[in-house]
């Protein structure tokens, strides 16, 4: 089966048959596949909610849904996209690729791996079930500020809290597994500074997750106590502090933002070097930049809270610390451009998505820099300008990174090449619609439209209609992606082990057959 790695004839080491293969699997590829499909399904569920939001906002007035349901849609759209799509997709890619990139047979803790995946469908089953309960699901925004999410929340908030706890456990277990694997199972000769950048990005991300997921668990537990056991952490009437909620939430929330982008940095770095046929420029500065971003992410949280009434010194501190993040982020962009410079560049679908990633993520970075400027943020805060900013870093940022990675590694995973023509069509439709959707949001935001509004004043009508058209187009286009993925799994031109010209030099995963053997490396490769 494999051309490079010697395989032994262990008949019982193949996958089990039927449903039990997926329920009881401890194989990193099977679990990676489960994570990726889970994330794909959640993308369509969260996407459908976005379509409801955009349909209602197509025109001023209330036409399709009432505000109470609209608020449930915005809340669940955010929660699902953050915790159900971006994070599981990255974990799925980590499961598939980390053992193959470091020359290991599997993840270090395979049973834990199975548990951390199967917790997720449970968590999201609980969350989504609240939408069918009489009081409706969570309706207080994905940031669930108290006291709207405590004293004034529907009773189903308890399901939401439990669901967040379960997601947190899943993330922490997954991170422990990833750190253990990276530290203990690298091929001989692969020192830390020889690790592929995707491995580096996940090592850093996993530490961020372990650091902040308990903080999220803490804040929802405080909510649980306030709601059910008469404490007053966030209840001013009982001597509590509603602003404390925001500090604790964003102490989790800001590192969380980087959790959702760092693995994409790793993926895009690999793709750009592959299709520029030139090793990544400034490898060590890329590693230091990611580490700096991760460390800085712990001291910038209150830039989400410039209007809560902090002292002047606090406002200025968080402005300066936030601006500092632009330095390592800028360095990464410069390094990607320098990798392309004097390369030998081709434009396969993964490369197209990665180029768009660099350009559009940088635009998201610029609006982020603008938002860091405290006095200007008084005008931007909680308007569509913010919505434009975080969608630019999360959709053409994180999601493009994931899609690029999927195209890049699909031939390796399935042994079949995807349809390049359809892939390019998917790229161009996605690229156009993502900008039609999110670019005008900058304008309506600056002109004064607040976020989380089910209805708006008449001067915002034209841009909102345009945004909705873009959003419908973006949503429909992703069905094409689903089609391409299924088509590639079923058939396609046989992929070489190397898949991409010259990739064999760039990473161990390309020395394995396509598709790779069930236990990736049964004999450790040597890294020089």
């Amino acid at each position: 089966m494999s051309t490079v790695v010697e395989t032994h004839d262990h008949g019982h080491h193949g996958p089990a048959k039927g449903l039990s293969r997926w329920l009881f699997t401890t194989n990193h590829k099977d679990i990676g596949t489960l994570y990726l499909w889970f994330s794909f399904i959640m993308l369509f569920i969260g996407g459908a909610m976005a379509m409801v939001i955009r349909a209602e906002l197509f025109q001023p007035g209330l036409q399709i849904v009432q505000p109470e349901f609209f608020n449930q849609m915005t809340t669940n759209h955010g929660l699902i996209m953050v915790f159900g799509v971006i994070m599981p997709a990255f974990v799925g890619l980590a499961n598939w690729m980390l053992p193959m990139q470091i020359g290991a047979p599997d993840m270090a803790l395979p049973r834990l791996n199975n548990l951390s995946f199967w917790l997720l469908p449970m968590a999201f089953g609980i969350l989504l079930s609240t939408l069918f309960m009489p009081e409706g699901g969570p309706n207080f925004g994905w940031t669930f500020y108290a006291p709207l999410s405590t004293t004034y929340a529907p009773n189903t908030v308890n399901f939401f809290i439990f669901s967040v706890h379960v997601m947190g456990v899943s993330s922490i277990l997954g991170s422990i597994n990833i750190i253990t694997t990276i530290f203990n199972m690298r091929a001989p000769g692969m020192t830390l500074m020889k690790m592929p950048l995707f491995v580096w990005s996940w090592l850093i991300t996993a530490y961020l997750l372990i650091a902040v997921m308990p903080v999220l668990a803490g804040v929802v537990t405080m909510m649980l106590m306030d709601i059910n056991f008469g404490t007053s952490f966030f209840n001013a009437a009982g001597g509590g502090d509603p602003v404390l909620f925001q500090h604790v939430f964003w102490f989790f929330g800001h590192p969380e933002v980087y959790i959702m982008i760092l693995p994409a940095f790793g993926i895009v770095s690999h793709i750009i070097e592959t299709f520029s046929r030139k090793p990544i420029f400034g490898y060590s500065s890329m590693v230091y930049a990611m580490a700096s971003i991760a460390i800085l992410s712990f001291v910038v949280w209150a830039h989400h809270m410039f209007t809560v009434g902090m002292p002047l010194a606090g406002e200025l501190f968080f402005m300066y610390s936030t601006m500092l993040i632009a330095i390592p982020t800028g360095v990464k962009v410069f390094n990607w451009v320098a990798t392309m410079f004097r390369g030998s560049i081709t434009f396969e679908t993964p490369m197209l998505f990665s180029i768009a990633f660099v350009a559009l993520f940088t635009i998201g970075g610029f609006s982020g820099l603008m938002l860091a400027i405290v006095p200007a943020d008084f005008q931007y805060h909680d308007t569509y300008f913010v919505v434009a900013h975080f969608h630019y870093v999360l959709v053409p940022g994180a999601l493009f990174g994931i899609i690029a990675g999927a195209y890049y590694w699909l031939p390796k995973w399935t042994g079949n090449m995807y349809d390049e023509t359809l892939g390019k069509l998917h790229f161009w439709l996605t690229f156009i619609s993502v900008n039609v959707t999110f670019f005008p949001m900058h304008f309506v935001g600056l002109a004064g439209m607040p976020r989380r509004y089910p209805d708006y004043a008449l001067q915002f009508a034209d841009f909102n209609a345009l945004i909705s058209v873009g959003a419908f187009m973006f949503g429909l286009t992703q069905l094409l992606f689903l089609f391409i993925v299924i088509k590639t799994i079923r058939a396609g031109k046989q992929a070489e082990p190397e898949v991409w010209e010259g990739a064999g030099e760039l990473g161990l995963e390309w020395t394995l057959s396509s598709p790779p053997p069930y236990h990736s490396f049964t004999i450790q490769p040597q890294v020089k």
Partner: protein, 370 residues
Amino acid sequence: MVMPVMFSSLVFSEDSDYNMKVGVTEVSQSIFELHMLIFWICVGIGVIVFSIMFWSLFKYRKSKGAVAADFDDNFWLEIGWTVAATLVLVWMAVPSTQVMVKAYDDAEGEINILITGHQWKWHYKYLEDEVGFFSNLATSQEQINGEVPKGEFYLREVDEPLVIPTNTRIRFLITGNDVIHSWWVPDFAVKQDAIPGFINTAWTNVPEPGIFRGACTELCGIKHAFMPVVVRAVEREEFDAFIATKVALAEEERMLTSKVWTKEELMERGEGFYATNCSACHQINGKGIPPVFPALDGSQIAMFDSKKHIEILMEGVQGSAMAAFGDSYSEVDIASVITYTRQAWSNGENGDGVIVTPQDIVAYKNRIDL
């Protein structure tokens, strides 16, 4: 700073549909200039980076026979662009700090106004004169539902705007009654969260008369989009006259408490109060939106338990959206709306029909105070 200011005055009109409002105050104008400065710096960086990137993509195409070079690091280049990025950030940080120091000033104003966010309306209280009022959305539900054409100021109009004098330092003290709201007037560049248990401050000094429209910018529940802010800036004389009227009205209101009210008078007043303050949740037909907003029509409390009815109006219902109205409204308003809801719909026929008078509310307050 010259270039952005020049550009901004050339390209953007005051009421742009696609850019930040210049506003009318000194602070809002310096924030606008700062915004344009940062914007143009970002555009400049973008042009440089993207030009190099797209030029490289074009020039080093494999299809045109480009062969990859084999360099992959350059220490001084890395140091160089790190230092360059740092310098650009310092260039941005200096004016930002200056504008921030100017905008941030919590010294007392000549006029101090307490702004309280409620679900879903604003309450304004002039602290020097001890008068206050609620400001509710004036756009009709029919316009929102699309049954009649939408007016020019759809969702940006209120029954009673906040009135402030021009050329006067005004300090806003901002707090919340239930959940967190946020009070925003783009023309003043004032946006402050209204947080229960906290009093935040902001200030402005408006040089010219006008009507300035803003919004609530922190998600505060179902009617978050339906509690606009409208501020009317007037000359000092007009403002003094406005306050004098308000003071006289408040005095009249206090007199009303001791007056003997007939059922009809209470009903009439209560119906108006109900339409403005209660119907958003409990609906004009009293049917509510169960289970979140209970029906009043046919409610056991509204039909048979006037004591409990008073208590709910005065204290609110813990853990629900029902706010305490006791501190915000006069005894007459509370008594009349209770009387109205005990008589309206089918409640009058099926219930005890007890009439609650302002004196009953006074008695309740005295009992509580003991």
